[in-house]
């Protein structure tokens, strides 16, 4: 495998360094994982909860990094699939009493499958229209969850989602306490990160970056860009749905509030603030923006104000930090022609 050419902690790098499609700094990883494994020995329940939340949000953030950081599509719909996964898991648990891993996988599948009919028409749209479309999806999700009372019990929400039951035959282990949640979520988050890294190191990952950098050029070299964009849209939905499942089993209550902009915005900030298009970006972001704000008990409103300033700062002060995102737009502005699908 290729050696890392660049450092992966890139929060303050002004330049956008070149990249072999993915580089992993193994020693930093090892140190990080070791620290995490020991965390429950040092941290009390309150802080462990904060970290669990951070790791739960890591999953939809990885999905957003995939679609935004690596494929260059600004989607604000991660919250839709997060909530969808949460509801799917909750419903499975409440109506069928299925064990946690089943609910987890179902949540991912449901989110991915719903993303298909949503993505097909949405991906015909360009730029701003696509963003607006994804916002519209969020609102529709809110409406459906509030009004499909038979399924979702509307604003009352679904409560009584079972604590995660991990079973092998006769032996069943129920996760209740904070450290247990911590290790469960840590394991799953680690798997998600591994899957993410595998994706971006694959030839498909290279295609994603190509689409981000210059879609028309990629198309002219034989990349079926629309197919990749749809698959990436579905994959990022799967990540989000899996995160939603964890959320449902952690908070044991799911209501239409899960579709609030609050969650989508948090996921966006995690990715943008943590380092878009970088391997550890979502990890750093979820730690900084979720764990820290939970631990410091920063109120949701104040958090949103901070996020707002972070967004402004990113756009104006650190444009190179968002360089991969804007590169494609800059190329498009410079113009190498309009494709047949471009006239909308």
């Amino acid at each position: 495998m290729k050696q890392a050419i660049l450092s992966t902690t890139t929060l303050d790098t002004p330049r956008m360094p070149a990249t072999r499609v993915a580089a992993v700094n193994w020693s930093a990883c090892a140190a990080g994982v070791a620290a995490l494994l020991c965390a429950p020995l040092f941290l009390g329940d309150y802080y462990l909860h904060a970290m669990v939340l951070a790791m739960i949000f890591l999953l939809p953030a990885l999905g957003l990094n995939l679609i935004l950081g690596y494929t260059g599509m600004l989607s604000l719909a991660q919250g839709v699939f997060f909530g969808l996964g949460a509801y799917a898991s909750a419903l499975m648990s409440i109506h069928f009493g299925t064990p946690f891993l089943v609910n987890f996988i179902v949540a991912g599948l449901v989110a991915g499958l719903v993303a298909l009919p949503l993505g097909i028409p949405a991906l015909r749209l360009r730029d701003t229209s696509f963003v607006m479309c994804t916002l519209g999806m969020v609102v529709i999700a809110q409406m459906v969850s509030k009004n499909w009372i038979d399924l979702t019990r509307g604003d009352m929400g679904l409560s009584g989602v079972a604590r995660p039951r991990l079973g092998f035959g006769d032996w069943v282990y129920t996760v209740i306490k904070a450290p247990e949640y911590f290790y469960l979520v840590l394991a799953l988050a680690a798997l998600a990160v591994a899957a993410f890294v595998a994706l971006i190191r694959s030839p498909a990952g290279r295609c994603m970056v190509a689409i981000r950098d210059n879609e028309t050029l990629a198309e002219s070299l034989g990349v079926p860009t629309w197919t990749y964009k749809l698959l990436v849209f579905m994959l990022s939905a799967v990540f989000a749905g899996l995160g939603g499942s964890l959320y449902a089993h952690f908070s044991t209550v799911v209501s239409p509030l899960v579709f609030q902009a609050y969650y989508s915005n948090t996921i966006l900030i995690i990715v943008l603030g943590g380092g878009v298009g970088k391997v550890p970006g979502a990890i750093i972001g979820s730690f900084v923006f979720v764990a820290v704000s939970e631990a410091l008990r920063i109120t949701p409103e104040l958090r949103m104000v901070i996020y707002g300033f972070v967004l402004l700062g990113l756009v104006f002060l650190f444009p190179q930090g968002l360089a991969p995102l804007f590169q494609r737009a800059a190329e498009r502005i410079a113009g190498i022609g309009k494709g047949p699908r471009d006239v909308r």
Partner: protein, 256 residues
């Protein structure tokens, strides 16, 4: 050079609003030849390329690649299945990837049978990518980009990007390449290099070329045949020697 038809353009028409960019153009490109395409600005050359390769949809007419009607095929299918590539007038590369990654990407799609297979990195995929990397390294050497190969392509100079773009064309081993002003904006030394690359690809690898170029001296030396476009219509279609002597061509383009 065989008599087999590589690319046949029949009655191609394209309008942009009231402007007729292409007014029923018929061209045949034979396998293994280098065809020059010249004409004043606005004569429809790039539009012709766009319509053949799927970047634009023509309003009328057909494009046949080795006898297969590819009119209306999406651009990526033409590139991948048709093994038919084109370069762009304004040099484009993937700016955040370095040279080797740019080239691997260019060659990648022809090596994998379908989209889903690109997601799984098993041993056979790894072997294919490794083969691509080796070929990429060769091309980097040949084009003299070794010194800047580690930089993100967006940081290379215009001339270097042009060479990289050219090398990208060769990676998937295409049969037909359309070059849109490959010599524009690069210094004389590099011009020599690019010409050598085109000739090598044509003579040793059998690649068919259609080249738009305003550097007519070079183009006349390079081409087996030359087509002249003027205001969206074909003005001449003959050997370079004949075209250079053609009075209509001289008046419209080459200058008296």
């Amino acid at each position: 050079m065989s008599a087999e038809s590589m690319l046949r353009i029949e009655g191609l028409r394209k309008n942009y609003g009231a402007v007729a960019a292409l007014q029923g153009v018929d061209i045949e490109v034979r396998r293994g030849e280098v065809m020059g395409l010249i004409g004043p600005n606005g004569s429809g050359k790039s539009t012709l390329f766009d319509c053949c390769t799927g970047l634009q949809r023509s309003d009328a007419g057909r494009v046949l690649l080795k006898g297969v009607d590819i009119t209306g095929w999406p651009m990526n299918r033409i590139a991948r299945e048709g093994r038919f590539l084109r370069s762009f007038q304004k040099t484009v590369v993937f700016p955040t990837l370095d040279s080797e990654e740019n080239l691997v990407l260019a060659g990648q799609m022809s090596r994998f049978p379908n989209v889903l297979s690109t997601f799984w990195v098993g041993p056979s995929a790894r072997k294919r990518i490794q083969a691509l990397r080796e070929r990429a390294k060769e091309l980097i050497e040949v084009t003299g980009l070794a010194r800047v190969a580690h930089l993100p392509a967006g940081h290379m100079s215009g001339g270097q990007q042009k060479l990289l773009q050219f090398a990208s064309m060769l990676m998937p081993e295409p049969e037909l390449i359309l070059l849109d002003e490959p010599l524009a904006g690069i210094n004389p030394v590099l011009i020599e290099k690019v010409i050598q690359c085109i000739e090598h690809a044509n003579k040793e690898l059998g690649v068919t070329f259609v080249v738009i170029e305003h550097n007519t001296d070079v183009l006349m030396n390079l081409s087996h045949r030359v087509v002249v476009l003027h205001q969206g219509a074909k003005l001449a279609d003959a050997t370079p020697e004949e075209v250079v002597r053609n009075p209509e061509v001289i008046e419209a383009y080459l200058g008296g």
